[in-house]
């Protein structure tokens, strides 16, 4: 008897091995039309909810739909860890995830893999939302995800110092450079963004290219655009390090170190996300800029600059068995009322145009009107299924140029070759 038991265990284990070995990394061919069917309880999966923005929405939904309850499943806070959780799950075609909160830059990759349900544009109020934000959810002319929140860069500057010198906030990088002597007189550094070798560098590089009127990729993310604007943008950043209008510490800056540098009074100008605004207005012994700073849209080279878009999109898994409920929940969670509550709670930039003019929100987050101005010209990062390869190549080349290991035009040339190769994978 025990022997037979052991035998069965053994056979079971062997079977398990064989079965798992067969489930190779073959790609899902799911997806398909907008026919979302199936209702019932669903799971909503997103990165760790650090500001507590989901429970209220889910609570409201669950009260109204007791038979279609939503359960929140939180993934780690780090974007890489989230992506690998999604990828592992979706490659296995699991129906565990129904609604997924995905980073804007993953949309194309997930859509091309056949992991997302195509959304019916007619069912969503996209006309009232920021076009660039909605565009982050599009791939090959179809809509795959709805923006939940978005994000754009701002120029933070020391208003007290500029006022004293009777100067206005710079609208172009030339004006910004011309103001740098003020930083010197005040024993501080002039300008910084995020230049460490990570996703933030891609954002800052993209913005410098867009500031010169260019873009990273074209033809639906299959070819490099770059060209002269990229050389101009990258030269500005590389020269910053060479000539000192960007502090040499800048090469190690991610969002937080650059914010701390600005708040400790070491920077005259800082490119960062809106979250810095309320932090820099807090009373804190380490904060030296309370009431002394203001914000402006990002500068360009001839006119206004253009921000890269961040943010979170909601999408429905192609393998969900309750896509009907999932689509309805996305509509609900991203509607204007809930978006307003989310913005009020987090200060994240809304995807709804109207919310930028909402007096209540503006009182709480005075940066909204300035951000709105920037959002009109904001651009998504390249929407390509090979985004990870694209951003790695950008970081490689831009970093080499900022470190002075490559001339800006050489780096742009090399990057063009790399991006074309990546895009040609089809």
């Amino acid at each position: 008897m025990p022997r037979r038991f052991v035998k069965f265990t053994f056979i079971g284990a062997v079977l398990m091995l064989v079965l798992t070995a067969c489930g190779g990394p073959d790609e899902g061919g799911g997806g398909g039309g907008g026919g979302a069917q199936g209702t019932g309880p669903i799971t909503f999966v997103a990165g760790k909810d650090t500001s507590g923005k989901y429970p209220a929405v889910i609570e409201k939904w669950n009260t109204a739909h007791p038979d279609q309850k939503v359960t929140l499943l939180e993934l780690p806070e780090a974007a890489d860890a989230q992506r690998s959780a999604f990828v592992t799950n979706l490659q296995a075609k699991s129906d565990r995830y129904d609604v997924m909160g995905i980073d804007v830059i993953w949309t194309a990759e997930f859509a091309k893999s056949g992991w997302l349900l195509e959304l019916d544009e007619g069912q969503f109020p996209i006309a009232d939302m920021l076009k660039p934000a909605v565009d982050t959810g599009r791939f090959e002319g179809k809509l795959w995800a709805m923006p939940y929140d978005t994000n754009g860069g701002l120029l933070f500057y020391r208003k007290d110092i500029l006022d004293k010198a009777n100067k206005e906030a710079p609208k172009t990088f030339d004006e910004l450079k011309a103001l740098c002597p003020l930083a010197q007189q005040n024993n501080m550094d002039c300008y910084a963004g995020q230049f460490a070798k990570y996703e933030g560098l891609t954002v800052n590089f993209a913005e410098s290219v867009q500031a010169a009127g260019g873009e990273l990729m074209t033809d639906n993310g299959t070819k490099a655009a770059l060209g002269a604007p990229a050389v101009q943008g990258l030269t500005f950043l590389a020269d910053g390090f060479k000539q000192g209008y960007i502090p040499k510490e800048g090469i190690t800056y991610q969002e937080e170190p650059s914010r701390r540098a600005f708040m400790s009074g070491k920077l005259l100008f800082l490119r960062n996300w809106p979250y810095v605004y309320n932090l820099a207005n807090e009373s804190d012994p380490a904060n030296k800029v309370k009431g002394k700073f203001d914000i402006a849209p990002l500068p360009g080279f001839t006119g206004a600059g253009s921000s890269s878009l961040g943010g979170l999109n909601f999408a429905v898994s192609a393998f969900s068995k309750k896509q009907g409920t999932a689509v309805e929940f996305i509509k609900f969670a991203t509607n204007q009322e809930n978006a307003k509550e989310m913005v009020g709670l987090t200060g994240n930039a809304p995807a709804w145009n109207a919310l930028y003019d909402d007096p209540e929100l503006i009182e709480k987050f005075p940066f909204l009107p300035t951000l709105k101005e920037g959002m009109q010209t904001a651009k998504p990062r390249p929407v390509t299924p090979y985004y990870q390869e694209v951003t790695t190549a950008i970081q490689e080349e831009a970093y080499a140029a900022l470190q002075g290991q490559k001339a800006a035009d050489q780096a742009v040339n090399d990057l063009t070759t790399k991006l074309n190769e990546i895009g040609a994978q089809g």
């Binding site: 052991v6 398990m16 790609e27 893999s113 460490a196 070798k197 090469i251 170190p257």
Partner: protein, 313 residues
């Protein structure tokens, strides 16, 4: 990621009453042994053999993100050694190797020193022992975050040294940043193992040496070193296996910037970030083989040394 298993060859026990036992009984015993070993065998197969074989299998296939993956033989290996991936691979290979040699050297010297101190009887020894071990008790990822702060341009390290170094912005400064953080974290581990080795050396040996008129240096070289050697070899092996697959520190401190990618961060980036599971498996298989070879080499060198030393006396 890799697990070193040591198989112990059971010495065939010669039974005095061998022939008198029935072969049937012995066979039954062998069968029972087989069944008793089976659960452990299954567990090992599932958690060790399967991933290794699977990685090997994957490494012989192409990566097709949106198509089907095909059998490509050794193409992935050729790509890593001489093809389009060779620059990144060899950079990671040499960086990991340099890192291993340099960190092991400092850890051994400092750890040995710590162990010698902890082995002496003095007031407050317990406190010293406990405080020396604190870094070892901190998880590596936490330690890496801590050192990330310390190495920031306005961080503790620059303040204390009075320098203005951008630690994570250059190749060699990054290298030393990783070395310092790793030595800080794991020298106590070496100290612990060496201390265990020191404590089994009986005091009588030292007393006898003293009576014979040996100096402190002589008794260290002739008694302490040879007797603690096996503990040191174990420590070296452990650390070597660890550093060859170092991940957390470089990943958090530099994220591979300025040619500081290690074999493990490179495999991770290929398989998880770029979603190239086959090429990523190739890299981790190479790492796996490299570690086995390195362990084998050190082990046999150390053994030869021990044999020579004992034969010479």
């Amino acid at each position: 990621m890799t697990v070193a298993t040591e198989t112990v060859r059971p010495e065939r026990v010669r039974r005095r009453g061998g022939p008198t036992r029935t072969s049937e009984g012995r066979r039954a015993e062998a069968r029972l042994a087989l069944w008793l070993l089976l659960p452990a065998g299954i567990v090992l197969a599932v958690i060790i053999a399967y991933p290794v074989v699977r990685a090997l299998w994957l490494s012989l296939h192409s990566d097709a993100r949106f198509g089907t993956s095909e059998f490509v033989g050794l193409d992935n290996y050729i790509r890593a050694f001489t093809g389009s991936g060779s620059e990144a691979f060899w950079q990671a290979f040499w960086f990991t190797t340099q890192l291993t040699i340099v960190t092991m050297f400092f850890e051994l010297v400092i750890g040995f020193g710590m162990a010698l101190i902890m082995n002496k009887a003095f007031k407050g020894r317990g406190l010293v022992r406990a405080s020396v071990l604190v870094p070892w008790a901190i998880p590596t990822a936490v330690a890496a975050r801590l050192w990330e702060w310390n190495f920031q341009p306005d961080g503790v390290v620059n303040q204390v040294l009075g320098t203005d170094i951008l630690w994570t912005a250059g190749h060699w400064s990054s290298f030393w940043a990783i070395v310092i953080a790793d030595v800080w974290k794991t020298a106590p581990f070496i100290a612990l193992l060496v201390l265990a080795g020191l404590q089994i050396i009986p005091d009588e040996v030292y007393e006898a040496a003293k009576v014979d008129g040996a100096t402190a240096l002589q008794s260290f070289r002739r008694i302490t070193l040879p007797l603690v050697k096996s503990a040191v070899i174990v420590a070296v092996l452990f650390r070597m296996l660890d550093v060859l697959r170092i991940f957390d520190l470089p990943f958090i401190l530099t994220n591979g910037a300025n040619q500081t990618e290690t074999l493990s961060t490179l495999s991770y980036k290929e398989s998880i970030q770029q979603l190239h599971p086959s090429y990523g498996s190739t890299l981790s298989t190479i790492t796996f083989i490299y570690i086995i070879l390195a362990a084998f080499l050190v082990n046999s060198l150390a053994r030869a040394d021990v044999v020579k030393a004992s034969g010479g006396r």
